[in-house]
Symmetry: C2
Subunit: 114 residues, 2 copies
DNA sequence: CCGGCGTTATGATTGCTCTTCATAACGGAG
DNA sequence: CTCCGTTATGAAGAGCAATCATAACGCCGG
């Protein structure tokens, strides 16, 4: 047996934020485009774009500022709200992971892997 | 925006335990049959049976003792391991919910509903 | 002795969500 | 004014999960 746990935040019954989605935003910001961020996360562009679109809709805020055409073909950067969201989300995930891991090992008498 | 969270335990990358599944086992025990438990949880018998089967396989333990035929047609009861699992799982879910709720409100500055 | 009933157990099918493939639009550079 | 890499989105396909349908079991009443 290999116990694990997962965690996300919902808005209106649908996933609005999770660690994976936060990492996606982070990767997009780091590489300057949705395409490169998607490649790093190992998913097709369509998926990455759709997740971002969902997040913006469900969180009710604009996360990315995108630009089409131009010398480099375009690109994407996090908005101020987006950077704020990523920061809070990273803190939330890290703290929650630690807390749950502790409760898990106290309850089940063995520490969860990873 | 209506923030929520969810939480489960995985075994081998697949869901092995969650609050819903724990409530299902609890309902089966309370009513004495998978059929009645499934009805209470609002799912068809097949779904309930499948979830239980999955849980037993992924946790590597027998949770239910079932009986087919007989005066009442049959029934199901939790094994000792099953009762133990339900108890630990309920404690884990309750403690984790409290902890995550607290971390959430500290991080995002508002308390999650429910 | 045997047909009926409520249950467990499982095969087969449907439906739906998510992934993937394909295409349009943009705009600076050569 | 054509080319390139990007954003943006429509449409088709696949995979998975819920649902429907059926077999087997075993006591009980007739």
């Amino acid at each position: 047996m290999e116990p694990r746990f997962n965690l996300w935040i919902e808005a209106g019954g649908e996933v609005a934020a999770s660690r994976w989605r936060m990492e996606l935003l982070s990767a997009i910001e780091e590489h300057g485009s949705i395409t490169a961020g998607a490649r790093e996360m190992g998913v097709p562009y369509r998926v990455a774009w759709q997740k971002v679109h969902e997040m913006e809709e469900r969180l009710g805020m604009q996360l990315l500022e995108t630009q089409t055409g131009g010398a480099e073909g375009g690109g994407a950067r996090l908005t101020e709200a987006g950077r704020e969201h990523v920061g809070r989300m990273r803190a939330f995930c890290d703290r929650a992971d630690r807390a749950i891991r502790e409760i898990y090992s106290e309850t089940f008498g063995q520490s969860p892997p990873d």
